[in-house]
Every structure is written in structure tokens, then in C-alpha cells.
């Protein structure tokens, strides 16, 4: 077991654990935000740089700090490592900068975006971002396209986290979906407009942290915060059948997988459950789903978490609304 200290809190973890995983074991404010890492997708992480932290001491044996900030999602811990997240002003500054970069070409069309209210980029910007950008440049623009008949791609909103690429690669048997071109004109695309028809392709919508991939069977039907998320299940031949049904009264507006507190799916679900089963009679409704996140959907009508923070937040960082 390795001893790791993150923002003055200690935890014992197995060798091979990353800093981010160790932080999640402690929980609360010491957990760096992760926009690209996704524990269920092999190879994900390292790209968005929102999870950068400072390693103030590399290990018990080598007490030197690491020269640069490191991506906590892809840096394994050492025994005796000391990490600073919010307790390092350098990290707070860098995170602000990363949010600015992520928003640089983002259209900020939240008022018409289906993801608003459950968007990781929105949450991130509220917590760590600046009030205005220094940029006066035009934002890059792409046409809106279809990925198959059930998924809409708004490339303008994409932050190129590659989660959907890993999903396509790891969940479907023949990947037709990837990143085209490079640099700031890179885009998510399917090979010569081919439809992604695999029965698990819909999970790309759930892993997408922003509104770049949305569910065509739900688009513009309702703001997410008007809906009640309910745990529901059915006997499904292809997946576990454990889903979240988003309801208004007796109607099911959409079906998604069940996400945990880090916005990650507990299980991937099949396209039939997601897109075809919109009749409440298809499902056994278990009851309301607790959404333990600080986003808009939980702000109004869902439980508040007990105050958990132990570290003193640095000035300028928003108080946790939880």
C-alpha cells in the first residue's frame, strides 16, 4: 500500500492507482475535475488538462517536487507522494487557464443546448472559470451533422475529449467514428458519413461531457431540469436494462444510463432501451434517482449533500453549492 497526501488529507492506496483515483477515494473538494478521463474507457484521459495538480513531493524516497503540473488522471502515485489540488495557487491559476481554453471556441449556446443543466463544461466554468474571456476572435464553426439516425453532432460544442471515440472503439465491433484533421480544426466524424448503427452506439451521448452529441429522440423536447430522473429497469436481452428514465408526469421523455457522482455511467445500455422504450409500461419504475452533483438539475429539487469539505478553499474559488 502507498501513502498519498492530497490537499493535506492522507489515504492509503494500491500501487498503480492514479492521483485522481486516490483523490476520489478521499472525496469532496480534493477531487480534481475530469473532463476527458472516464474510468470505464481504456486509454481515456490526459487530454483536457483540467485535472492538472501539483506534486509537491514526488515520493518518500525522492522529496523533490515535480517540475511541471501533472495530469492527475494519468499519473500513478508513489509512496509518500504529496499532492496539491486547490491548496496550490499555481493549480488554481492553471485550471482557470484551461477553462478559458476549453471555452475559447465553444459557442456558449447553452440557452438552446439540450445538455444545459447537466453539462460538465457548464459546471466546470461556474466553479473554476473566469467571468469573461480575453478573446475577441471569431469562434470556429462546423455544420451540424448526424451520426446515424439517432445521434446529432454539434461539433461546435465539442471539446475533443475523445470519450466518444473510445466508446466507439471499445463498445462497437467496427469503429467508423474518430477524429479527422488536426489542431483546432480537428473534428469528430464518421468515415465518409457512414451511420454508426451498433446497438451500443448511443452510449456516446452519455459519455459526452458537453452537448456535442445529443439524443435525436429527445432534442428540444424539454429542459432537463423540468424532468424527474427515475431509476427504472426492464428485462433486456442485450444489456442490464438498468436505466434512468427522465419523466414528466407519466410520460418518459428520454432514457439514459445511470451516472455516478463523477458523471460516469455505471453501466452501458443498449440502443433499444435508450431510443425505443419510451412507454412507462416498458419499465419497472423503482423511484427517484438521487443526483449528487452540483449542476442545475440537482440544485432545485434534489437532496443537498452534507457539508463535507475539510480543506480551506482558496480565495476566489466558489463555495461548493452542495
Amino acid at each position: 500500500m502507498f501513502k498519498v497526501t492530497i490537499d493535506n488529507q492522507q489515504v492509503d492506496v494500491e500501487e498503480g492507482t492514479t492521483i485522481l483515483q486516490a483523490a476520489r477515494m478521499i472525496g469532496g473538494k480534493v477531487v480534481p475535475p475530469a473532463m476527458c478521463y472516464y474510468s470505464k474507457l481504456r486509454g481515456s484521459g490526459g487530454k483536457c488538462r483540467t485535472c492538472l495538480v501539483k506534486v509537491a513531493q514526488s515520493s518518500a524516497k525522492d522529496p523533490r517536487p515535480m517540475p511541471k503540473l501533472v495530469a492527475s488522471c494519468s499519473t500513478p502515485v508513489q509512496d509518500g507522494m504529496v499532492v496539491q489540488n486547490l491548496t496550490s495557487p499555481e493549480v488554481v491559476e492553471a485550471r482557470k487557464a484551461i477553462v478559458e481554453f476549453l471555452l475559447l471556441n465553444h459557442p456558449l449556446d447553452c440557452p438552446v443546448c439540450d445538455q444545459a443543466g447537466e453539462c460538465d463544461l457548464q459546471d466546470l466554468s461556474f466553479r473554476y472559470g473566469m467571468e469573461e474571456t480575453g478573446s475577441e476572435e471569431d469562434r470556429r464553426e462546423f455544420p451540424v451533422t448526424d451520426i446515424g439516425d439517432k445521434i446529432k453532432l454539434h461539433m461546435n460544442r465539442c471539446i475533443l475529449c475523445y470519450r466518444c471515440v473510445y466508446t466507439a472503439d471499445q463498445l462497437t465491433d467496427k469503429r467508423l467514428h474518430g477524429v479527422l484533421y488536426r489542431g483546432d480544426v480537428s473534428e469528430i466524424g464518421t468515415f465518409i458519413q457512414q451511420a454508426v448503427t451498433n446497438n451500443f452506439s448511443g452510449n456516446m451521448i452519455d459519455v459526452c461531457p458537453v452537448g456535442a452529441l445529443t439524443d435525436k429522440t429527445f432534442r428540444f423536447k424539454s429542459r432537463v431540469w423540468f424532468l424527474n430522473p427515475m431509476n427504472a429497469h426492464r428485462d433486456c436481452p442485450s444489456c442490464s436494462g438498468n436505466v434512468t428514465a427522465w419523466m414528466f408526469g407519466n410520460e418518459i421523455y428520454r432514457v439514459t444510463g445511470r451516472k455516478n457522482q463523477y458523471g460516469e455511467l455505471e453501466e452501458f445500455i443498449c440502443n433499444e432501451c435508450r431510443f425505443e422504450k419510451k412507454d412507462p409500461g416498458d419499465w419497472v419504475i423503482e423511484g427517484p434517482r438521487h443526483i449528487k452533483r452540483q449542476s442545475v438539475i440537482s440544485a432545485n429539487h434534489y437532496e443537498r449533500m452534507k457539508k463535507q469539505s475539510v480543506i480551506k478553499p482558496i480565495e476566489g474559488i466558489m463555495e461548493d453549492p452542495e
Binding site: G45, G46, K47, C48, R49, T50, L52, P67, K68, L69, A71, S74, T75, P76, A94, A97, I98, E100, F101, L102, L104, N105, G134, S135, E137, R140, I159, L160, Y162, G178, V179, Y181, R182, G183, D184, V185, S186
Partner: protein, 445 residues
């Protein structure tokens, strides 16, 4: 003059072919290594020579080789990085074109030292004309028993393959290179794991620059000790410098490290002074990504010492008043050169070459380029100059691979040393544009 080591024999007609190369002492080092030495001894000689990577970072080659996971039972690979795409750097192509067998010799000895049976030369796609040159050299070496099974009747076997890339600067970054070689999109990998443990196809791998590997032959030939006596301090041996810009004699030169920068610029056997009797304004000494220095700081350090062509001397004063030897792409600007225009040009390059994987580089390179474009074209504001500094700071150190730094440094250093020129562009755009128009018109004549 340090005597030519790497380029020895380049003037001999026909040296590109095996017979002439062999007749002039070629492949003697291979015979010495394979017949008289153990792999460990070859490693030791390379370490003793003090050879440092010639691809840009200057990492000690012997030390890099010692990291290779020798416990793994997987095959090991040696990759020769011939992607050479950094603006201002054109030394590897010169070496491969004129002395292909020097490289093949180095690859054989290095593979022997590392226990490698398969070696790839990953070559920049635009160097199509060199693929044939290298493949011919490889075929000749095969024919004469220096490649293939049981080389020189020893237990050592080696095959070398040439793999052309598709023309992306980023594929010169060693892990992007590995991805590309595996047939994937050339995105740099997240490290750790490092190639020494998990490189090509997840196997232990060493990636070295063309010039680094080509130097291994001469080192074995003359002995590491002898080689280390050349040069100065921890900058041992000789280095290829590709010189370009406003000089009388652009070209590739082999210099003994430690040569004063002033001599390199003005001596008749090297750059031979600034063209058209103009004054020296600035130099980027190590390929486009290293900081630019104004004339006074490139000729002598802030402490007043003569600046030398060596790893240590060029970085004396860190980034505040120093720069880096980098890959040896020596770009010279005369009094008429517009630093803003040049910085914008480089920013354009890095924006175009960013793989787009990580947000600071993907977004930051584009942003810098747009702001620099505005300043260069007379639409800038004073605050844009500080904005550029802020963007470059926010990219630096926060990215997956060093391309982010490589994009940030030229911008930061140009503003550090030539802020007045940026201000001039903002305050008097009409005059500046007119001056540039006149200059480019005089070029056209």
C-alpha cells in the same frame, strides 16, 4: 576546425555507394564492434563518449540506452527518427542523402548494443527521394553480409526497414512517431509509460535521432574516450548545424561544439557573414522552437562571456537572456527582418501542426496565431501584446507533449527581446506596413 567526423569523406565521388564507402574505411567500426566487443562494451563506449541526443533535447544517449527494459522477454526495437520537420533544421536529410551508409553503420552497431533485431527508420513523408537512397544502401549492406541473418557469421541478426510518414511535424515526437508507425493517428502518447518500457507494439523501444545514431560508428571507431576530448565540457564531439537566413553561405556544417557563435556567423568557412553587408539583428540558433536572441545576446552572454555553440553556453542565462542548442537549425535575421512577421509565421506553423489532442495547445496555438496576425496587419492593440504573453504562459508546461512549449517559446521570447517592434506595429501600423511592402518589393526584383 574540429576535423570532420560525421561528414568525413563526403567530398569523395561515389561515397554514397557501398564499395567506395567500404574502400574508405567504412564498416570497419561494425567489424570492430561485432568481432571484438560485447554489447555491454559498446554501451560503455557510447556512455564514455558523452554523446547527447541530436534530435533537440540533448539527452545523454548512453543514459537513455541504459533505461531500456532489458528484463522483458518481448522483442526490442530501435527507431531512427528521420522525421526532421522543424523549420530551420535540415541536417539529417543532408547526412542521409550523401552518406547513407554512415547511418546504416550506426544503426547496426546501436542495434547490436541494444539487443535489437528489428530497426525502423521513420522518415518524413516529403523525403520521398531519400527512401530510395536508404533502401539501396540497406540492400547493399545485406548483399555484403552486414545485415540479415548471422551478420559477419556471428549470432547477431538485424533487419532495417524504412517507413515513410505522411508529412506531419508532430510525428517527429517520439510517441506520436510510434503511433504512426503502428498505423494509427499520430497523436503523442500520455507518459508514463515511457518507450523504454512500452514503446512500439508495447515492446521496449529506443528512439534516437538520425545524427545521434550516425555518430555511434565514429565513436566506436575512435573510442569513446577520444570522442569525448572533442568539444567543450558536457558538449562533447561535433554537431551538424544547418544554417539559413540572411547569411552569405547557407548550408550544413559540422562544427566542433564550443566554437564561438561569432566565428560561426562570420568565418569564411561557415556562414561567412551577413548577406548584402547588412547588420545582424537576431538569431534562432536551434530550430524554430527555441527562443530567439537579439544580436548582442547571441554573440555574448549577459555576463559578458563569449557565447559558444554548445548546450551549456547557449542556455546560459536560461530563457531570460539565453536560448538552446536544440536541433542545430541556425536561423539568422538581418536588420531588415520583421520580428513580428516572423513570429506570426512560426505561430502559424505550430497552429497548423498541433495534433489537437490537448486543450492548451489546440486552442492556444490558434489564438496566438490570430492575435499575431492582427498585430502584423495593423489591427492590433497594446493589450494584445500582454495577452500573447499570458497565452504563451498558459500553454507552457501544461500540455501532453513539448509541441505546446515549442509553440509558446518563440512568441514569449520575441516579445521579451523585441517588444518595441510589436508596439511599433500597434502604434504606427501604416508606416510599418509601408516599410514591409517596400522591402518585399525589393526582394521581388
Amino acid at each position: 576546425m574540429g576535423g570532420k567526423i560525421l561528414l568525413a569523406g563526403i567530398e569523395i565521388p561515389g561515397i554514397r555507394g557501398f564499395d567506395v564507402y567500404r574502400a574508405n574505411g567504412g564498416y570497419a567500426a561494425v567489424e570492430k564492434a561485432l568481432r571484438e566487443m560485447t554489447p555491454a562494451q559498446v554501451n560503455a563506449e557510447v556512455t564514455r563518449s558523452g554523446l547527447r541526443g541530436r534530435g533537440g533535447a540533448g539527452f545523454p544517449t548512453g543514459l537513455k540506452w541504459s533505461f531500456l527494459d532489458r528484463k522483458s522477454d518481448k522483442p526490442r526495437y530501435l527507431i531512427c527518427n528521420a522525421d526532421e520537420s522543424e523549420p530551420g533544421t535540415f541536417k539529417d536529410r543532408y547526412l542521409m542523402h550523401h552518406l547513407p551508409h554512415r547511418l546504416i553503420e550506426g544503426l547496426i552497431i546501436s542495434s547490436f548494443a541494444l539487443g535489437v533485431k528489428t530497426c525502423y527508420i521513420y522518415i518524413r513523408g516529403e523525403f520521398k527521394y531519400l527512401v530510395g537512397v536508404l533502401e539501396k544502401a540497406i540492400a547493399e549492406a545485406h548483399h555484403h553480409g552486414y545485415l540479415g541473418e548471422h551478420i559477419l557469421k556471428t549470432d547477431f541478426s538485424l533487419n532495417i526497414y524504412v517507413h515513410p510518414g505522411a508529412g506531419a511535424y508532430i510525428c517527429g515526437e517520439e510517441t506520436a512517431l510510434l503511433e504512426s508507425l503502428e498505423g494509427k493517428r499520430g497523436n503523442p502518447r500520455i507518459k508514463p509509460p515511457f518507450p523504454a518500457f512500452k514503446g512500439l507494439y508495447g515492446c521496449p523501444t529506443v528512439v534516437n535521432n538520425v545524427e545521434t545514431l550516425a555518430t555511434v560508428g565514429p565513436i566506436i571507431g575512435m573510442g569513446g574516450e577520444e570522442y569525448s576530448k572533442l568539444g567543450k565540457g558536457k558538449s562533447t564531439g561535433t554537431k551538424l548545424i544547418s544554417a539559413c537566413g540572411n547569411i552569405n553561405n547557407p548550408g550544413v556544417y559540422e562544427i566542433e561544439l564550443g566554437l564561438p557563435v561569432e566565428d560561426f556567423i562570420y568565418a569564411p568557412e561557415y556562414c561567412n557573414g551577413i548577406a548584402n553587408d547588412k547588420y545582424l539583428k537576431a538569431v534562432i540558433p536551434g530550430g524554430s522552437s527555441v527562443p530567439i536572441l537579439p544580436a548582442d545576446l547571441i554573440l555574448s552572454t549577459a555576463k559578458g562571456e563569449k557565447r559558444l555553440m554548445s548546450y551549456e553556453s547557449l542556455s546560459e542565462g536560461d530563457f531570460l537572456t539565453g536560448t538552446m542548442l536544440g536541433s542545430g537549425g541556425f536561423i539568422v535575421f538581418d536588420e531588415d527582418a520583421c520580428i513580428v512577421r516572423n513570429t506570426w509565421n512560426l505561430a502559424h506553423f505550430y497552429r497548423h501542426e498541433s495534433c489537437g489532442q490537448c486543450s492548451p495547445c489546440r486552442e492556444g496555438t490558434g489564438w496566438m496565431e490570430k492575435v499575431l496576425y492582427k498585430i502584423e496587419h495593423g489591427q492590433g492593440k497594446m493589450s494584445d501584446i500582454d495577452l500573447l504573453v499570458r497565452i504563451s504562459k498558459n500553454i507552457e508546461g501544461n500540455t501532453i507533449c513539448p509541441l505546446g512549449d515549442a509553440a509558446a517559446w518563440p512568441v514569449a521570447s520575441a516579445i521579451r527581446h523585441f517588444r518595441h517592434e510589436f508596439e511599433e506595429h500597434v502604434l504606427h501600423p501604416a508606416e510599418v506596413l509601408e516599410k514591409e511592402r517596400r522591402l518585399s518589393a525589393s526582394f521581388a526584383v
